[in-house]
């Protein structure tokens, strides 16, 4: 068995069929599919069991977060290569073969990621050089529009500093060396953290735009935008504390303080839910934030 595909499902039953169908077609006989269900309430586990009996399912009793669930899948995986894949994706034809080939051609590379495409055909920026307050600021403001246009013209593989784990092919031995995902992240930045640790433990990261994967994005967080924004900030602060240059954490906290003040002014903290959210932000930005 060559490739173990690991998907984490959280209430995303509607995307499972097209995703798994494309994955099955792409993997052929060379792979196994493992779905870790993070306590979905939309009937996904029963649906999977009846419609995709060949898929190995690990059903969690509670939502342990994205990284922890992927690690569960990793522990059950037998492949020499691991494909981390979001449930709201559809693999383009030949994409897996292309990713495998790129990894084979680059023995120095630990991971390779494809171009991620919106359902309307436009590019997502799923890679970057490095992550710090300044780098994220520059990338979001200036580089992303440039990348998006450049991707339409140039399609050659390149070395990058991080890749999205929405679709990521990684060597198993590199994953075992770093011990998989850091489970202290609940959602967001666990992939950037993973890439960072892959890169500093001797593996290169390659972006391969000749492989294309349609990625809807945000499928499991719609309807809970405020919660997921908070999770994003919490994880961002975690990452900055661990890996970004010293100034980044300071500036992010300053920025978040201003953002919280702005949210208060716009009335985002009204009602019981709003007050709970404000308490969470206050705790995040306080001294005992739980963010090392």
């Amino acid at each position: 068995m060559l490739i173990s595909a690991i998907l984490v499902n959280y209430n995303d039953r509607r995307h499972l069929a097209p995703c798994l169908a494309s994955l099955r077609a792409e993997l052929g006989d060379e792979g196994e599919i493992i779905v870790v269900d993070n306590a979905s309430t939309d009937g996904s586990p029963a649906y999977l069991a009846s419609e995709f009996p060949a898929v190995r399912m690990i059903a969690n009793a509670d939502n342990r977060g994205f990284g922890a669930a992927n690690n569960q899948g990793l522990a059950a995986a037998a492949g020499a290569l691991v494909l981390f894949l979001n449930t709201d994706t559809v693999l383009g034809p030949g994409s897996i073969r292309r990713l495998v080939q790129t990894l084979t051609e680059n023995p120095d590379a630990a991971a390779v990621g494809p171009a991620l495409i919106h359902p309307d055909g436009s590019f997502q920026v799923s890679f970057g050089k490095n992550v710090s307050f300044a780098a994220q600021f520059v990338q979001k403001l200036f580089l992303n529009p440039f990348y998006k246009r450049a991707l339409r013209r140039r399609a050659d593989p390149r070395r990058v500093g991080w890749l999205s784990a929405a679709c990521l092919l990684v060597r198993m031995d590199a994953l075992r060396l770093i011990g998989g995902f850091d489970e202290r992240y609940f959602l967001y930045f666990e992939d950037i953290d993973l890439c960072r640790r892959l890169a500093v433990s001797g593996g290169r990261l390659v972006f391969e735009p000749r492989a294309a994967v349609v990625h809807e994005g945000g499928a499991t967080t719609t309807g809970r935008a405020r919660d997921s924004r908070f999770e994003y900030r919490r994880s961002q602060l975690c990452f900055y504390s661990r890996h970004a240059p010293p100034g980044s954490r300071f500036f992010l906290r300053l920025y978040l303080r201003m953002a919280v003040a702005g949210m208060a002014a716009r009335g985002s903290f009204r009602g019981a839910e709003g007050r709970a959210l404000r308490r969470r932000y206050r705790r995040l930005l306080g001294k005992e934030s739980g963010v090392p």
Binding site: D108, L177, R197, V200, G202, H243, A244, K287, E288
Partner: protein
């Protein structure tokens, strides 16, 4: 007789050397005689560890070096908890914690200096200021504990406290887990995961200027020159990570000098190393060096206070001057060229750990210290009846 209530206080909630000692004390002091609580900033792995062991954790709002109003807040906590003894660890807890204990009227205060770090600050003025703060705080401290003989001597020379208050309690580690089959199995499994080529040279250290990891990096080229499959691995995270990554790239060692970050299985990784290096610029009494010795690793360390007390040059390891990559590389190459020497010194290192650096001794001496302080306190109370 009621149990003696001891509060172990440290500022940061992450697991470093000082925290390891706090945890060792909290776990192993006799619970029939002591009621231990741990006070630190909440929310980190230390809190988890403490609570997991069913011990009481008291969160305190420790911040950076300069925290206005912190003394008052800790004093309020101490008035509420009212321990018989407050034992502070490290500079920040030592400063604010001891002032707070004084303010709250805690009867006995112990402070452990886990390495006299401020003497190595680059700012000369700060060195003097911190030494003076130490002297000031010692006035309301009943025992100032140093972790190595060299530090004790320095403390005496700088008159950091009255000579009668100075104590030496060496750090100790729990060796019982290292010889087990379970540990050997975990280490063997891990060896299958780590880079397969040999030699595997490495260190376990926070990425802080103190630990001198950059000198290991600068020596790495010369160490690995004759060993194309060799790797240097570093376990630990910290503020210098980005600087280190930049220098690794500049030296073109991305594939050979590997950063593994903070790991829970650092001891198992130590067991897999062919050579352990501790390139520190200064130390207290480095636990990791004791662990590497207890695991019988061939050791190259810098000749700094603390490390010198664990490793004897040419007998239980090789010592080199601090901050000298060439000397570091030469010592590592001596081991690489002479595997018999490496094996012999590693074995000698293993034999040298007990009984000097064992947990039992460290716990027993602390226990004695706490009891004698409390005993003196009771005698005082008898002599001067309360009004």
């Amino acid at each position: 007789m009621s149990r003696l209530r001891v509060m172990e206080m440290i500022d940061k909630p992450f697991l470093g050397g000082g925290q390891a000692i706090v945890m060792a004390l909290a776990r192993n002091l006799d619970r029939d005689r002591f009621e231990i609580s741990v006070c630190a900033r909440g929310g980190g792995p230390l809190e988890e560890e403490v609570r997991k062991d069913g011990l009481s954790f008291v969160p305190a709002p420790f911040g950076g070096k300069y925290s206005f109003g912190l003394t008052g807040k800790i004093a309020a906590i101490l008035r509420r908890e009212m321990p018989d003894i407050v034992h502070t660890h490290g500079g920040i807890a030592g400063l604010y914690g001891r002032m707070a204990a004084h303010k709250a009227g805690v009867s006995k205060v112990v402070h452990t200096i886990h390495g006299i770090h401020y003497l190595h600050y680059r700012n000369i003025l700060l060195r003097a200021v911190y030494a003076d703060l130490e002297r000031y705080c010692s006035k309301f401290t009943d025992a100032v504990v140093f972790v190595s003989e060299a530090d004790l001597e320095t403390g005496r020379r700088l008159r950091l406290a009255k000579p009668a208050k100075l104590r030496l309690i060496r750090n100790g580690i729990d060796c019982s887990g290292l010889g087990t089959e379970d540990f050997a199995r975990r280490a063997a499994e891990l060896r299958g995961v780590l880079p397969q080529g040999s030699p595997l040279i490495g260190t376990v250290a926070r990425l802080h200027r103190q630990k001198g990891v950059v000198f290991l990096l600068r020596a790495a080229g010369a160490m690995l020159a004759g060993h194309p499959e060799g790797r240097v691995i570093v376990v630990g995270g910290g503020e210098l990570e980005n600087d280190l990554i930049r220098e690794i790239r500049a030296l073109g060692l991305e594939r050979r000098f590997l950063l593994l970050g903070e790991r829970a299985d650092a001891r198992e990784i130590l067991a897999c190393l062919d050579i352990f290096v501790l390139p520190s610029l200064w130390e207290g009494l480095p636990l990791v060096l004791i662990e590497a010795a207890a695991l019988g690793r061939p050791i190259v360390a810098t000749s700094v206070d603390g490390s010198r007390e664990i490793i004897v040059d040419g007998e239980t390891g090789l010592l080199v001057p601090a901050g000298d990559p060439a000397a570091l590389a030469a010592a590592v190459n001596r081991f690489l060229d002479d595997s018999a020497l490496a094996a012999r010194l590693g074995e000698a290192a293993r034999a040298s750990v007990p009984p000097r650096f064992t947990l039992d001794v460290m716990i027993a001496v602390h226990s004695e210290l706490y009891l004698s302080l409390a005993g003196r306190n009771r005698a005082d109370a008898l002599r001067a009846p309360e009004n």
